[in-house]
């Protein structure tokens, strides 16, 4: 049990004291008095147990909005449960990873060693996730709720008992689309991708599945991450003569790519398909009508009309005055996973939590969701979505056109 008494009402993040779980009450009181938080004592001597959650997420920089959405999702669940899980108060601690791999290791160490968190939520970037693996395994003190980083290598190279993907992996957001594209759109495709690990993984997985389905990949076009203008790359895509494109771009790149694609009239020559990040809630408002008629695959669509999701979207809007997105859903499910782990294991021992959580089914806004006990990868529905005109707040939105149910991922040699 890595729980501590609730004695310390002071602001943990701000104190220099290195707290350890074995510290005695007497030592603790002396230490606290020394740093001048004595005044806060009176209400703090309850001795009740408490759970702590550490966010290792970007709060500044390009991915800030993703980090914020994940936190919002997590805290929405806590609010709905009066800030408690299994009758115990939950404390959350934020640490900014800044999408920087060095910061990732520092933040992980701080949260696990100094803050003694019971669960680690994050990160956004897969590069950060991969650098965090070693520390998490060595410390063996918390479960890791991977609320976004989708690189399959976290499972292939890490295969950690503590690791639970409450999000997705890059195989899931690309490969299952291949069969659908082959059956419904085209039998020749061109692959266009942002030339970094995630883009490469996505197009490789798609290529494999598309060729297995009987289709042909006629060309590949990689553009550097952060390309502002796609004109020259569009020439290669157009010249490939393919009937469809499968693309992986995200964020600003996705906005620029889709805008250029439509600008040059490629919409009329070929069908744009891609991973869901190409056409998501954070890019669609800027892509606007340029994105109409394009298809993408993701494990979540805010427009999905199930009772569970409608309720989630409404609650989220009430709480934060903004639209729910896939990251918010991943944050929310991380909280649900943590709650399930604590409730089913009856405590916060990381090994017991991990054992209890493998195979657990969550009542997620995204639909069916459970963990594969062998890999801790999610087994979930994937949704093929088409961008359609909307009479809502934004001119366009994603509409689910097909549900691919209960998608499992390869095990990548991981067997827990």
């Amino acid at each position: 049990m890595v729980r501590r008494p609730t004695g310390e009402c002071g602001n943990r993040a701000g104190s220099n004291r290195a707290s350890t779980p074995t510290i005695s009450r007497r030592q603790y009181l002396a230490g606290s008095a020394a740093v001048g938080v004595g005044s806060a004592f009176a209400g703090c001597l309850g001795g009740e147990d408490r759970l702590t959650v550490g966010y290792a997420l970007p709060f500044t920089g390009t991915y800030a909005i993703l980090g914020e959405s994940i936190v919002n999702g997590f805290e929405l669940y806590l609010e709905q449960n009066d800030g408690e899980i299994d009758g115990e108060e939950v404390e959350t601690i934020e640490r900014d990873t800044e999408a920087d791999t060095n910061r990732g290791v520092d933040v992980t160490r701080e949260l696990l060693v100094e803050e003694q968190v019971d669960a680690l939520v994050g990160p956004v970037s897969s590069a950060v996730a991969i650098t965090m693996m070693q520390t998490i395994e060595n410390e063996a003190s918390a479960i890791w709720l991977n609320a976004n980083a989708g690189d399959y290598r976290v499972t292939e190279e890490g295969c950690l008992n503590y690791h639970f993907r409450t999000s997705f992996n890059d195989w899931q957001t690309s490969a299952p689309l291949a069969g659908w594209v082959y059956n419904n759109v085209a039998d020749t495709v061109c692959l266009a991708y942002a030339d970094y690990a995630f883009g490469q993984n996505s197009k490789n997985f798609f290529r494999e599945a598309f060729e297995d389905a009987g289709g042909e990949v006629v060309a590949e076009v990689g553009a550097p991450l952060g390309t502002d203008d796609y004109s020259t790359y569009l020439g290669d895509i157009e010249n490939s003569g393919a009937d469809a494109v499968f693309s992986f771009f995200a964020g600003s790149d996705a906005v620029n790519y889709i805008t250029d694609f439509a600008d040059y009239g490629l919409n009329e020559e070929m069908t744009q398909t891609g991973s869901g990040f190409l056409l998501s809630e954070d890019t669609l408002p800027a892509q606007g009508e340029a994105a109409l008629g394009m298809y993408s695959l993701l494990h979540y669509a805010p427009t999905q009309e199930t009772d569970r999701n409608t309720e989630f979207v409404e609650n989220y809007r009430d709480a934060y005055d903004s639209s729910a997105n896939v990251y918010a859903c991943q944050g929310y499910d991380s909280a649900q996973a943590f709650a399930a782990a604590v409730e089913e294991s009856g405590g916060s021992d990381p090994n017991e939590m991990a054992d209890a959580l493998g195979g657990t089914e969550l009542d997620s806004p995204r639909g069916s969701f459970r963990f594969n006990p062998e890999t801790h990868e999610p087994i979930q529905n994937l949704y093929v979505r088409e961008v359609v005109a909307s009479d809502g707040e934004q001119p366009v939105e994603n509409q689910v056109v097909e549900t691919i149910e209960g998608v499992e991922s390869p095990s990548w040699g991981c067997s827990l």
Partner: protein, 289 residues
């Protein structure tokens, strides 16, 4: 093949004139005021955001194109009058630190006010669609940027070389005391130059915000490119900045055809080669500017 090269050439030129607008402001400010303005990229970003907000609120790209750069000019005036003015003549390090601080402050403020979500300015109806150039369908808006950019660059060139203000500007930079002695308030001239540079950056921001996503990171991305241009062209040389911007635009777009992953390497390789052969850049003078 012809189509591919034509497309790359047009893109290179369009990229070139927009880079020239940004680099022109940077090099003018350095040439006249001796200030290395690290906040220039942030002003460019501010232009794009102001433009996006105006276009969304008033529903007009054209109003955004006129108003947003003026607002950026106001911000530029505030920076110059309140913070730079007391520091003229000091070690350039002061200006670098100060303007770098402004860059970070502006970026932080933008993130706070508008969030991290990407935005874009909707294309004006007049400029939707594309025109056929040979066998290539080229987007009309991109052609508009190319034409407007070229006109502006020529106009600035004429203003510096031919107009009274241009003469005054060059004279103020050359011999501040003499111009002061002639009864002209040089500090006003300096403010004018800084504001002018800011307006150009803001204008480039609005022009590009139609085809590029508007996001809080865009200013930091462009400032490096702009500095490379100013250095290769010769610090303080307007002519050098324009030629180099066009060259860099073409190198970037042809580079993307040949080896997409190496375009940045081409950029810095070019800078290294030029500086080895001509340490002061293409049009730099041997004496300090």
């Amino acid at each position: 093949m012809v189509e591919t090269i034509l497309r790359a050439t047009l893109l290179g030129l369009q990229l070139g004139v927009t880079l020239a607008l940004i680099a022109a402001g940077l090099t003018l400010i350095f040439g006249m005021l001796d200030v290395i303005n690290f906040a220039h990229g942030a002003l460019y970003m501010l232009g794009a955001y102001f433009g996006a907000v105006i276009a969304a609120e008033l529903g007009s790209f054209w109003l955004a194109l006129v108003l947003a750069p003026l607002f950026v000019g106001v911000v530029g005036a505030a920076i110059e009058v309140l913070s730079l003015r007391p520091l003229y003549g000091r070690n350039p390090l002061y200006h670098i630190l100060l303007t770098f601080g402004f860059a970070i402050m502006i970026q932080g403020t933008v993130l706070q006010v508008w969030g991290g979500q990407a935005r874009r300015i909707a294309r004006p109806d007049l400029l939707t669609g594309s025109v056929a150039i040979g066998s290539l369908n080229y987007p009309l808006y991109r052609l508009f940027v190319l034409v407007v950019g070229t006109i502006l660059i020529v106009a600035i060139w004429l203003a510096i070389e031919r107009s009274n203000f241009g003469i005054l500007m060059r004279a103020s930079a050359h011999d501040t005391e003499m111009v002061n002695a002639l009864g002209i308030d040089v500090s006003k001239v300096f403010t004018g130059v800084f504001v002018f540079g800011a307006v150009l950056a803001g204008l480039a921001g609005v022009l590009l915000a139609v085809s590029r996503s508007v996001n809080p990171g865009m200013g930091m991305g462009i400032i490096i490119e702009a500095f490379v241009i100013v250095v290769i062209g010769g610090l303080g040389s307007f002519r050098g900045a324009v030629y180099t911007a066009l060259l860099i635009g073409l190198v970037t777009s042809y580079g993307a055809l040949i080896a997409p992953t190496l375009t940045e390497l081409f950029l810095f390789g070019l800078m290294a080669v030029v500086l080895m052969i001509k340490p002061n850049g293409f049009f730099g003078t041997t004496e300090a500017a």
